[in-house]
């Protein structure tokens, strides 16, 4: 196993899938000549050529719409949205088209499509460029929404997404690209829709995903020094949502904190907490806590932005409150 960055892991998955299957191609803004604004597709244009690494105009609706159309003909497009904030410019095609066509036409239409999108705050990009709107997309049946938090999962899940028969929104976090981890070489697949226990512990269950896995792990490290053992469940996939490991862990610890980067209202934490209450009410020893972004559009100023984003201390505080 090699220790590589999240960026390399994603890049590797794309590269291997394109080598394996000629139906796989990439389209998006600056994916070709530029090499991807986050350098994920660096070198792809020279190797695979302009037919398979297609630079598009700035036209998100057309990018997703055309990807849907191409997928309907049997191709396996990987559409890149430069950031997830631009998904709103393609909202109809994502939620009204991609998420509906298979069902609405009685299963006739199959669209094996992957939409890669970079999300997350913390880089002073201001209100329109810093969002974590994952929960919005997870609201729609018909769409699969995944957001890996480790390089290995990123590689394995992107491969699974490309081979999936369904439209998958694959959410990457801009501040995780440099994160390193052990990643199996070659054909490594992590099935979509499977949560996993990332760290074992017996006092409290922290449910999280994506960037917040990093924050939660740091919190767990500090808590461990005080003798508090937190178990961390990484959701990895928001839809379908696999509650198995969450419930299993909760039945052991009887206490949970859910950590997400997006806003709390109507968010991932709201969903997970309700499901715990619905499915494991008898095991509840303390009210479940949610840690999430302050309910404001993210400001540019660094201090204010960091105030609004969930921090390690927020997770520690919430854990202590449920203990």
């Amino acid at each position: 196993m090699a220790r590589i960055t999240m960026r390399e892991a994603i890049s590797q998955a794309l590269w291997e899938e394109m080598e394996r299957d000629p139906r796989v191609f990439i389209l998006g803004e600056e994916v070709g000549v530029w090499g991807g604004t986050y350098a994920v597709t660096k070198g792809f244009y020279d190797h695979f050529g302009p037919e398979r690494v297609r630079d598009t105009p700035i036209a998100e609706a057309a990018i997703i719409g055309a990807a849907i159309g191409a997928a309907l003909t049997g191709l396996r497009p990987v559409a890149e949205l430069m950031t997830i904030n631009f998904a709103f410019s393609a909202m109809d095609h994502i939620v009204n088209q991609a998420a509906k066509l298979h069902y609405m036409f009685g299963g006739q239409m199959i669209l094996p499509l992957v939409i890669r999108a970079v999300g997350g705050g913390g880089r002073q990009l201001g209100a329109t460029h810093s969002q974590t709107p994952d929960a919005i997309f997870a609201h729609f049946p018909g769409l699969k929404v995944v957001a890996p938090g480790t390089p290995a999962d990123a590689k394995g899940m992107l491969k699974a997404a490309i081979r999936s028969q369904d439209p998958v929104l694959f959410i990457e976090h801009a501040t995780l690209y440099q994160t390193r981890g052990e990643v199996p070489e070659g054909d490594y697949i992590v099935p979509l829709g499977k949560s996993t226990i990332q760290r074992e512990g017996r006092h409290v269950t922290i449910v999280t995903y994506s960037k917040m896995l990093e924050i939660s792990t740091k919190a767990a490290d500090q808590l461990a020094k005080e003798g508090i053992e937190a178990e961390i469940v990484d959701l990895r996939s928001l839809r379908p949502l696999d509650m198995g490991p969450v419930l299993e862990s909760f039945k052991k610890t009887n206490r949970a904190v859910i950590v997400e980067e997006g806003w709390k209202s109507y968010g991932v934490g709201a969903e997970v907490a309700s499901r715990i209450y619905e499915e494991a009410f008898d095991y509840v020893d303390a009210p479940i806590k949610r840690v999430a972004q302050a309910e404001v559009p993210l400001p540019y100023n660094r201090t204010l932005e960091q105030m609004a984003l969930p921090q390690v201390e927020d997770v520690i505080k919430a854990v202590k409150e449920v203990l």
Partner: protein, 319 residues
């Protein structure tokens, strides 16, 4: 035009240039965060365009907005303070480089979602028509923005409703790393207005006097009820798309050729050759601009951070 006016245009362009150069330094020092899109090379566009607007005319643009802000009359101080995220910035430190605005000066902002401000511009103009204001809305955007649906919806609507909008495409040859002809079905961008039955023209954006002249005429026509018009301004951004652009998509020879058309240099020569100003007077303007920007940086650095309660302010209108 009085001599004063000529010198003022020169002054504005030099302030913008210096402000951008200093911003780049401050970005490298980590004092400016986020994205920083410099206007260097395009100074003549907004300077000429905005020099003939009336106070009631509305200006709206994309994220490459520092120069536009200066031309709209924002002080270098409040622009620089915003870039540093300070409480004294025009958006109180909450907007940053891409989101400068001063509504009192009829500058309706920098907007960071490509093309999203075009329909908003149509709405500003609609508001004026509705309320019988004799104002023109000037909407600036890049060549890349003409490929997104918003552009087409807004142009069509403005024509259908005969709105007083001057659509100004700053064709700087690239949208990020994508050359116009790689992304746009027609590379003569003004032709896109044809599809909406809209009158259009093109102008050399490196020549502030030419931009000013054509703008003055178009404002007048629109004010007199011509309906929306389209102006393509041919220009070039001398720096990368934003800080950290590896610029693999263009050759240094190409950049060099354009650098010879420096809008400030062109105007400088124009003023000398037409005996409007002496070299000494221009040097004096450069000196003044330098001091103004130094003062702005000092002001911004000394300004306070926004207080913590600012985080929860302005989510909704208070009261």
């Amino acid at each position: 035009m009085e001599k004063r006016d000529y010198l003022d245009l020169y002054h504005q362009m030099v302030v913008i240039r210096r402000l951008e150069e200093r911003s780049a330094e401050l970005y490298q020092q980590g004092k400016i965060g986020g994205f920083l899109h410099l206007y260097i090379g395009q100074e003549a566009v907004s300077t000429g365009l905005i020099s003939v607007r009336r106070p009631e005319d509305r200006i709206i643009t994309a994220y490459r907005d520092h120069g536009v802000a200066i031309n709209c009359g924002l002080s270098a101080r409040e622009v620089m303070a915003e870039l540093l995220g300070k409480a004294t910035g025009c958006s109180r430190g909450k907007g940053g480089s891409m989101h400068l605005a001063d509504v009192k000066k009829n500058f309706w902002g920098g907007h960071a979602i490509v093309g999203a401000h075009l329909p908003i511009a149509a709405g500003l103009a609609l508001g004026d028509v509705y309320q019988n204001n004799q104002a023109v809305t000037v909407c600036m955007f890049g060549d890349g923005a003409t490929n997104i649906g918003y552009f087409h919806e807004a142009l069509n609507l403005s024509k259908v409703w005969n709105l007083p909008v001057l659509w100004v495409c700053e064709n700087n040859q690239y949208g990020m790393g994508t050359a116009v002809e790689r992304a746009s079905a027609v590379s003569e961008i003004r032709r896109k207005a044809d599809g909406y039955g809209m009158k259009s023209e093109a102008v050399d954006g490196m020549d502030v006097m030419k931009v000013r002249e054509v703008s003055a005429r178009l404002y007048e026509e629109i004010r007199n009820g011509s309906g929306p018009q389209f102006l393509e301004v041919i220009t070039y951004r001398f720096r990368g798309h934003s800080m950290g652009d590896p610029e693999r998509y263009r050759s240094s020879e190409e950049v060099k050729t354009w650098l010879e058309n420096d809008p400030i240099g062109i105007y400088h020569r124009y003023l000398l050759e037409n005996d409007i100003a002496s070299e000494e007077e221009l040097q004096q303007q450069i000196q003044m601009a330098e001091e103004e920007v130094n003062d702005a940086v000092a002001f911004a650095e000394a300004s306070p951070e926004p207080p913590a309660e600012e985080l929860f302010k302005h989510i909704y209108v208070e009261g």
